[in-house]
Amino acid sequence: MKKIGKNSVEFNHVYLRTSSAISGPKEAEGPLGQYFDASYKDNYCGGQNWEQAEIILQQHAIEAALSKSGLKMDEIDLAIGGDLNNQIAVTNYSLRAYDVAYLGVFSACSTCTQSMLLAAMLVDSGYGENIMTITSSHNSTSERQFRYPTEYGGQKPTSMTSTATGAGASIISSIPSSIRVTRATIGKIIDPDLSDAQDMGRTMAPAAATTFKTHLEDFQIEPSEYDLILTGDLSKYGSEIFLKILEEWQIQTPENTNDAGLMLYDIEKQNVFAGGSGCGCVTLVTLGYVVHALKTGKYNKVLIIATGALMNPIMVAQNESIPAIAHAIALERSML
């Protein structure tokens, strides 16, 4: 592992050994439904309440990653992960069932890439051979915590994003496999002075653009380096802002840019307003679809810039704005 530029690292021998993606019903009906390992038919996922449902999703993702890789939990040196609930409660409770060392992390939706880049750093610095990452979100646990009760009849604006229900796990390893983890850029907090909890895509776009710019500068590469630059989850309005900021900076707008919030759902038909959001969204798209596309050779190099709106309802009620952050990680098809 080598530090590059201001905020980036290049990994030597880090691989994505396996990944799993477990989704809720709406995500399964979306355009990427076929790439998930399993999907639940209702939002309770067989649990008693929404929080239990999210725990079930996470544990299912953990089990799927273990069985796909043929590993047992005692061969996992560390689990890193988080979710959107207060005190990252769901991850804490999911991992209660396992005998494994654990580091909980939170950076809202960018928890997905944050845990993967931390796992990659630890693997490359010799902490262990296999490190598992786990992230999830659930539409109803998020709605009740950050906004209104699920059945509340207030009108939602078009800029609203719909939190995805899903969980994903990955095993980052030093054992060579078909996908390499090559680079990462750590983001900083960017606060564009917006405070609308129903317009998070636009809030996060400056953070995504800043991390992307840092990444390009640190490695001295052009956007065309990657076959896919995946932001997540800026959704419809946030993606527009992301591209316009890059234009202002005269970074040649890459055509190969897409957003996880726009890919997970059919936003014309699925009633998700501006698109998907939440850790589950970028996790499902990355660990379900992108991993599949890298394995089949559709893509060779992919940069994932997961973005998090670090929203706290109390701070927002106190007239504070919403800070945002974005962490990037690059995955590459290896010749194995």
Partner: protein, 144 residues
Amino acid sequence: MEKQVFQKVLNENKVKRPVFLNAVKAFITGGVICFIAQVILYLFKDKVGLPKDQANSLMYIVVVGVTSILTGFGIFDKIGQFSGAGTLIPITGFSNSMTSAALESKSEGIVLGIMTNMFKLAGAVIAAGVVSAFISGLIIYLVR
């Protein structure tokens, strides 16, 4: 420096809300709800022959009850998404805010969940109602 770029781009690309269309939808749905309530009131008062006070109360109970049931079945939030203030401002909005908060908190038990959180959204309406009733009552008293 960078923040100015963000502000410029964000200000140039605001998400427009369809205010006029929302107002029209709210006007129509709000009117329809009031019309239905008026019909219910008419039935209780003139057809059943109840005194005005009782007919009024029964009409409220029916409207609140129906809204509550529709909320429980997951239908009301879809209506609310279309009608906006049209269903939020009449007593239907009050009923929905209480039922939805109660439903949401049911996993935390009856006392700490349902009873504590039931008025989470409706509390503001009650407080505003009591305060404005007090002020207008005071004005009426002083003017007379």
